[in-house]
Amino acid sequence: MTSEPAHMNPARSFQGLILTLQRYWAEQGCVILQPYDMEVGAGTFHPATTLRALGPKSWRAAYVQPSRRPKDGRYGENPNRLQHYYQFQVILKPNPPNLQELYLGSLKAIGIDTSLHDIRFVEDDWESPTLGAWGLGWECWCDGMEVSQFTYFQQVAGFECSPVAGELTYGLERLAMYLQGVESIYDLNFNGLEGVEKVTYGDVFLQAEQEYSRHNFEHADTEMLFRHFRDAEAACRKYLEAGEPKPGTNDQRHLMALPAYDQCIKASHMFNLLDARGVISVTERQSYILRVRELAKACGAAWLKTEGGGVAA
């Protein structure tokens, strides 16, 4: 670590923070994945978490996931809120007995000294109605600030997790703000350099926040979004059916769980956009969430019939 150049220091560089976390979790045996190439609301939606959390196979992965929460857009004016932000996601299945120690090790790696900082595990039970998932765990506090979510998955897509996976989610921007001591996300030093070479988070994302806020709240084509929601829902069902094992054959594996799940993700994002546009009433809201959950459950059931889900080839 000491040999690293100063601009890679996680306390000075946003990307330094990401790279440090990746290195740390790689050392713990995680596969380091790249972000899923679809719009999702949180790192949990990545099939490397949602689907891999199901079934008996062991699995360790870590990745950054750009996450979109259209409703959280503030036209770049709020120093703490974004409609597009980064989560760093770690999933370990089954959770090792020393997961808390591993987590604290990751904090140490990014420069949080536990003899100076007050680290606390404060009850926070996690639930995702759209994924039919829940777990127990904590918000992890550093000096009174929530820096991560720590969850032991109990159920995903309506299925009991067997074995249980441990999930860690770091809110990267917030963590970086704390490490860098800045008051606004947009002031974060992205590349750790100074002077003319310095690139801030604002340089990279402020324009996007402004444009997407306009899109999410004012201009997103709701008719198209409704249509895409229905299309994604139908496609998901269609792919699930097409992938079903053929009766009378020996191979009882499902053949298209992943493509079907993509459509579930898509439907979920369409719903989030429609929600931000304010065109879904309170009563309808519940029914949309339910429709996405049904897709997630069906995808989970299909996944459990694949090799990844534990079925022998």
Binding site: P56, N80, P94, N95, P96, P97, Q100, T114, S115, L116, H117, D118, I119, R120, F121, V122, E123, D125, G135, L136, G137, W138, C142, D143, G144, M145, Y152, Q154, C161, S162, P163, V164, G166, Y178, E183, S281, V282, T283
Partner: protein
């Protein structure tokens, strides 16, 4: 005598569950021991974020020996019987049995079976795994590799290790060995996560507690609370400030640390422009910190106290700095909400209430506000409030639900509305009503006294009750998810503590009518009368008709509706329509719910339940204030000599009547024939007849004038003539006509008392 030490060491247990879990652990283990005959001298349980611990002092080393004598067959019985006896008693040969004799049976065998008491560690090793596996956590989870198997251990968070030792003070205790899903018991625990993470070997409670203390763990929650409170007060005092005490927060904070270190932080004074409740709520809810005030002005100071779990190497500077950052960000948010909320007037927010569903079957908050406003306007007249102010208060009462601040902190509902109302220049009573219409929130909460607040609070609660009664969502047993008992109690306290006269049944009818009208006017609603199955009969009825029967409503976006020849038609399936119980039966049921709640309330106030019953047994009792006044007057009357004797006289009359009416198979409820009294009666019955008539009329008039003391006084005049009557007059006269008339006289006594209460319900 030996002690037990048990510690269950886990990952962080939610603060709110710790105290209960410690108590459960103590109860489960001591109950299981007592059940097996093991008595103990004392037990105490402890909880920290990472452990539950139990100390049981003074347990016996082993259970009691049991000696049992078992009778066997007679001496000389067939071999099969002897062998069976030996097997059953566990004897090797018949020589081990005693021979006893009995004059009837002669000589027979007796086996002495001695069961030595089991060693306490064995028994503990047997009961503890079961208690751990079925521990009653409110929420529990599985974890790790073990969770591959079904039925793996559940705990509140992963359980890591178990300490279980047993032994006397003088010797080294032994480890009680058992295994729960792969976790073996031992004598090793750990100290504070950061300050003393190494393993600690413990022997018994006497060294366990101090060893942990050295390892920066205080196992006793109450001691941690004391430490926090003491340090917090000291720190506040040093700054010339006063701690704003908060017991619930203290309890929670004590459950978040094993070694409390209280530190003081501050925030920009400019934030003090935000209402103090908002500052306190923000800092409390999000940061779990205490706030401070200036003892001279009572105003909040720009300081807060945090409780960390660390003796930091820099004295806490970094921790304070971090917390100040977060508090600053939170207060900036709060300040932003406070400022933006003020830019929209409360009345302009009402539209948004249309998007907030109050209850799926009862519509939106907007509709609710309409009903409460209509009800308030009428109620105001009875309560003596300005109807325009009451209506205004009701209209704005829920507007703050759609402010940013209440969206963020729902517990500030009402209060924020009041602040925003004051800022936009509303009448102080209107502003007060916005906050106070939720009150009283429980039996000990303050009851509002401003007439406008009282009106809106009543309207809000009556509307809630009527609504949930209409959709048949009443409290059952211990289930009361909509807090309807609390709402009814609220109505009772509002009425009684403000001495308000209201006819409840009329009020209920009015609120029901409001709701029914509103539902009928929904553009997508089809309303059917009673059980009428024909949807073509939908709607033309008057509201009065709905209130005579129940109404059924079909909402048009339900699947059962279709458009047919330009008209909405419904294929009625009971699943598709909502029956609204607005008819007389449901309303009477709600009224009797009030009667029940009033009884509970009066009983809690110390009133005699039989007197309450005696008053409720009369017809048409729906004026809460009058009911209570009558119960009080009756109680006072029965405490007097006149009252006691009249009650005795009443009972004598009622007893005789019961027996004679049964014998004759008829009732004597006609008026007595005064001619017979006059011609044949004794002087005492003449006197009674005269007084009865007068007293009854007088009592009735007094009741009419709501002078219950007067009514009682009128009745007390009956005492002497009734006593004299029973002294001198034989009811069962030879002459049947005379007898019948005397029975009618007795009936008149019964009737006279009924003007104030049903005396048959009075006990004692």
């Amino acid at each position: 005598m030996p002690d037990l030490l048990l510690e269950l060491f886990s990952e962080e247990i939610p603060a709110r569950m710790q105290r209960r879990a410690a108590e459960d652990l103590k109860k489960l283990v001591t109950d299981a021991l007592v059940e097996r005959g093991f008595l103990y001298e004392g037990a105490k349980a402890f909880a920290t974020p990472r452990r539950l611990a139990l100390h049981i002092a003074g347990l016996p080393v082993k259970g009691q020996d049991v000696r049992e004598e078992r009778k066997g067959p007679r001496v000389g019985s067939p071999d099969a019987a002897i062998q069976g006896f030996l097997k059953g008693a566990g004897l090797a040969s018949i020589e081990q049995a005693k021979i006893e004799s009995d004059p009837k049976k002669g000589e027979f065998y007796v086996a002495i079976i001695e069961k030595p008491g089991r060693s306490t560690p064995d028994v503990l090793a047997e009961i503890l795994p079961g208690i751990i596996k079925t521990f009653p956590w409110p929420k529990s989870m599985r974890w790790g590799a073990a969770s591959r198997e079904p039925g793996s251990l559940r705990w509140v968070r992963p359980l890591h290790s178990i300490v279980c030792t047993f032994g006397p003070e003088t010797e080294d205790p032994e480890v009680v060995r058992f295994d729960v899903d792969g976790i073996g018991s031992g004598d090793v625990t750990k100290g504070h996560r950061f300050l003393a993470p190494d393993e600690i070997r413990v022997k018994r409670f006497d060294d366990y507690a101090p060893a942990l203390e050295r390892a920066k763990v205080v196992i006793d929650t109450d001691r941690r609370k004391d430490m926090i409170l003491h340090d917090a007060k000291d720190l506040a005092f040093a700054q010339g400030l006063e701690l704003v005490e908060d017991e619930a927060l203290l309890e929670e904070v004590a459950g978040l640390v094993e070694w409390p270190v209280v530190l003081m932080g501050s925030f920009d004074e400019a934030f003090l422009d935000i209402p103090p409740e908002v500052i306190r709520t923000t800092i409390r809810a999000n940061q779990k910190c205490f706030v401070l005030r200036d003892p001279n002005t009572g105003k909040l100071a720009n300081k807060f106290l945090l409780t960390s779990n660390l003796i930091a190497s820099d004295g806490g500077k970094t921790i304070v700095g971090g917390n100040e950052r977060v508090v600053r960000a939170r207060l900036s948010d709060a300040n932003f909400f406070w400022k933006t909320d003020q830019q929209v007037k409360l009345e302009d927010r009402l539209e948004k209430l249309k998007a907030i569903v109050f209850h799926e079957k009862l519509g939106t908050q907007y509709e609710r506000v309409e009903r409460i406003a209509a009800l308030s306007k009428v109620l105001a007249i009875g309560v003596g409030a300005d109807p325009a102010l009451a209506e205004r208060g009701a209209r704005l009462a829920k507007a703050d639900l759609v402010t940013e601040m209440v969206g963020e902190f729902p517990e500030l509902q009402g209060l924020m509305g009041r602040y925003y109302a004051m800022l936009q220049g509303e009448h102080t009573s209107v502003a007060a009503a916005i906050e106070e219409h939720y009150k009283p929130l429980g039996p000990s909460d303050r009851v509002p006294t401003d007439p406008v607040s009282v009106v809106v609070a009543l309207a809000d609660k009556i509307d809630t009750l009527v609504g949930f009664w209409a959709i048949d969502e009443k409290p059952t047993g211990s289930k009361d998810p909509y807090a309807l008992r609390r709402a009814a109690l609220g109505v009772i306290r509002l009425v009684l503590e403000n001495s308000i006269r209201i006819e409840l049944s009329a009020l209920i009818r009015m609120a029901t009518e409001n709701a029914a009208k509103q539902i009928r006017s929904r553009p997508n609603a089809l309303v059917l009368l009673g059980q009428d199955p024909d949807p073509t009969n939908a709607d033309p009825h008057e509201i009065d008709e709905f209130l005579d029967v129940d109404m059924r409503v079909v909402i048009a976006d339900q699947r059962s509706l279709r458009l047919e020849q330009g008209e909405l038609r419904a294929d009625l399936n009971p699943k598709d329509y909502t029956t609204l119980h607005v008819g007389p039966k449901s309303r009477a049921d709600l009224l009797s719910f009030f009667a029940d709640r009033l009884k509970v309330y009066l009983r809690d106030q110390g009133a005699r339940h039989d007197l309450i019953d005696a008053v409720f047994a009369l017809e048409g009792q729906d004026d809460l204030l009058m009911i209570v006044r009558r119960v009080e007057a009756l109680g006072r009357f029965l405490d007097t000599e006149d009252g006691k004797n009249l009650l005795a006289g009443y009972r004598r009359a009622a007893n005789i009547l019961r027996i004679e009416e049964k014998k004759d198979g008829r009732a004597y409820n006609e008026q007595p024939d005064l001619q017979i009294v006059n011609d044949q009666g004794q002087i005492e019955e003449k006197a009674l007849a005269v007084v009865l008539d007068g007293a009854k009329r007088e009592a009735a008039a007094a009741v009419e004038a709501e002078d219950f003391e007067g009514a009682m006084r009128a009745l007390s005049r009956l005492r002497q003539p009734v006593d004299a009557f029973f002294d001198k007059v034989t009811v069962n006269a030879e002459d049947p006509a005379l007898r019948a008339n005397r029975l009618r006289l007795l009936n008149s006594i019964r009737e006279a008392t009924r003007t104030v209460a049903d005396f048959s319900r009075i006990e004692g």
